[in-house]
């Protein structure tokens, strides 16, 4: 038995790097400090029911076992012969593997796109339009006294975000609000119990009326303590933790953000409510925002995936810019996969663009909406695809997936996924961050090392090595340029 400490968790963009693993006979048997998702990954990754170990090639409609050399040779042949291959995924692998993948995309004249295309792609476009003021998570941990989560639910998607970086963390200058939350929770449970008791005791149920919902902010929001506001279309568990929850009508975030911008500058709004929220309440919330010493606006896919998409983020960044005229405010996207930020960073070093990079003309071109994966697939332009560490069959719209499965589909992934079930060639790889080393970027663009904790099965190579071998083979096929 050995204990491996300071392991970086390869699940979400929070990239918690304080995980402790107990390893026995090359198996992770116990996980400490991780969230439910992290623990599930460390304990279940090697489960033979959903782990691929042998390369597979589709023959007569059936996936059959093959040698790694054959799978790599066929992959190289498909990619070298295709006129417009799509190389997609990249967010769940190491930055080192992404670098090789981009070299491969350039060599075969294809399109390289990463999962930010269906995640924070609009955020990137907007940051390129407007620019943004951001910071590292350490700054927020120690200094932020107002934390706003807009269109995201960290309790579900980034379970330890609150505990490590925001309101439930003991910062140097800001204290955790954990005790306050527990007190609130106890009071709520007490109230519910009392209500139930009163209901049972009273013969006439109609006399007991629920207390009227009162508007106005809770006193904690005006205190000089750390506070948290959640803005979302439905009440989530994160919203319950927050000091205040604003429920915005679906697809109306843009209106709400613009209304807040006007209120920051003390403009009169001749309306009773915006996006379902009364103006008086918005005025009070604006006072809290202007009155904080250091605020942070975290935004999630609630803004990028609803109708105004990129314009929502434009408005969010503009709101933060306006707030900076009165106080200190920053903004940060809540990135999903553990290395989606790294994919953007590596794409930008290598090609100048963060995602949706088209090499078909021999030089990198970038035009999301045209060179992005979903659009290429929906138009039916690509004639082959290489998917690395991603599952587009489970997460792309139906029409886009149709084109993906009609053409040769190669998957490099350690797990059995809907995409690997539909594939023509499957090359199993080692789990990055558990069975292979690498580098990943946290959501605030801080690079962190990923550890190799256990040995992978002999037939599973790291993504980086597999991609290097494919690249070598492609160069051989293209003639004379073998590395």
């Amino acid at each position: 038995m050995r204990v491996v400490s300071n392991v970086t968790c390869p699940v979400c963009g929070s990239l918690c790097d304080d995980i402790e693993l107990i390893v026995e006979n090359n198996h992770v048997t116990k996980v400490r400090n991780a969230c439910a998702v992290g623990e599930a990954k460390f304990l279940a990754f090697a489960d033979p029911k959903h782990r691929r170990v042998k390369p597979l090639i589709r023959k007569n409609g059936e996936l059959v076992e093959a040698s790694l050399d054959e799978a790599i040779r066929r992959t190289a042949k498909i990619l070298a012969e295709a006129s417009y291959p799509l190389l997609y995924g990249w967010s769940c692998t190491s930055t080192e593997a992404i670098r090789v993948g981009l070299e491969l995309a350039e060599e075969v004249g294809g399109v390289a796109d990463n999962t930010s295309t269906v995640c924070h792609g609009p955020s990137i476009l907007s940051i390129q339009n407007v620019g943004f003021s951001s910071c590292t998570l350490g700054q927020i941990r120690h200094r932020a006294d107002l934390v706003i989560y807009w269109g995201c639910n960290p309790w579900s998607a980034h379970p330890r975000h609150l505990e490590r970086y925001t309101t439930f963390t003991e910062g140097r200058f800001q204290k955790s609000i954990w005790i306050r939350y527990l007190t609130k929770l106890r009071a709520l449970i007490g109230k519910k119990k009392a209500q139930r008791a009163a209901e049972l005791a009273s013969p006439r149920k109609e006399v007991i009326s629920k207390p009227e919902r009162t508007f106005g902010l809770p006193p904690t929001l005006t205190a000089k303590q750390r506070k948290m506001i959640v803005v979302d279309v439905r009440k989530t568990r994160s919203a319950e933790i927050a000091d205040y929850f604003l429920q915005v009508k679906p697809n109306m975030d843009y209106e709400l953000l613009q209304a807040l911008r006007m209120l920051v500058f003390d403009r009169e709004l001749d309306l009773d409510e915006v996006a379902g929220i009364p103006i008086e309440l918005l005025e009070e919330v604006t006072d809290v925002m202007v009155g904080c010493r250091f605020g942070i606006l975290f935004f999630g896919l609630g803004l990028t995936m609803s109708s105004a998409k990129v314009r929502n983020i434009d408005a969010g960044i503009s709101l933060v810019r306006d707030l900076n005229k009165k106080t200190k405010f920053t903004i940060m996207p809540m990135r999903g996969h553990f290395n989606v930020t790294g994919a953007n960073v590596a794409f930008t070093w290598q090609t100048g663009y963060p995602y949706a990079v088209d090499f078909s003309q021999g030089f990198p071109q970038y035009n999301p909406g045209e060179t992005s994966a979903v659009d290429i697939l929906a138009r039916g332009d690509s004639d082959a695809a290489l998917i690395v560490a991603s599952d587009p069959v489970a997460h792309f719209p139906k029409r886009a997936v149709k084109n993906l499965v009609e053409n040769p589909l190669i998957v490099i992934d350690p797990q059995v996924t809907p995409t690997s079930l539909m594939a023509d060639i499957v090359i199993p790889s080692a789990f990055v961050g558990i069975e292979a080393e690498g580098t990943a970027y946290r959501m605030d663009r801080v690079p962190l090392p990923l550890k190799k904790v256990v040995e992978p099965p002999a037939t599973c190579l790291p993504d980086e090595v597999i991609l290097q071998r494919i690249l070598k083979e492609v160069r051989k096929l293209k003639g004379g340029k073998a590395a």
């Binding site: 409609g61 379970p159 009440k235 896919l301 998409k309 992005s372 929906a378 139906k398 040769p408 023509d424």
Partner: protein
């Protein structure tokens, strides 16, 4: 049969997160994502209890899911389906020129259904005809 006009949201849940780590073909994953969270008042309007099946239909597709009572109501006329192959059957591929399909805030209809929820391999076959794939 009552048909309710609703707004469809898709997104992450903690169960979807742990479910996917147990394998996408696992029962746990299917139970965590082939569901539809509905406001309790809307469930009453549909005349069903939690645990019954509902058919959700958008302009892009239709799928049968298990109705689950939303724990954090009220959100009238808003339904929530976790990310996954079932939710994707309801999403359109139009990206408004930015590469991003609309995964949240989609007009949809929900009605009760006697049909069963199809498992993942069958769903893939239904949608993309996996068996028809030719060899390389």
């Amino acid at each position: 049969m009552t048909k309710l006009k609703v707004t469809l949201l898709t997104g992450r849940t903690i169960n979807q997160g742990t479910g996917k780590e147990h394998g996408k073909l696992s029962k746990k994953y299917m139970e965590s994502v082939a569901i539809c969270q509905i406001d309790p008042e809307d469930l009453k309007k549909l005349g069903i209890r939690e645990g019954k099946n509902v058919r959700v239909t958008t302009a892009f597709g239709s799928v049968v899911l298990k109705a689950v009572k939303s724990l954090r109501a009220p959100h009238p006329h808003v339904i929530f389906v976790p990310y996954g192959p079932w939710a994707n059957a309801l999403i359109g591929s139009e990206t408004s020129g930015v590469g991003m399909p609309t995964f949240k805030g989609i007009p949809a209809e929900v009605e009760t259904s006697q049909e069963r929820i199809v498992a993942l391999p069958e769903l893939l076959k239904q949608q993309f005809g996996r068996s028809e794939k030719t060899c390389v």
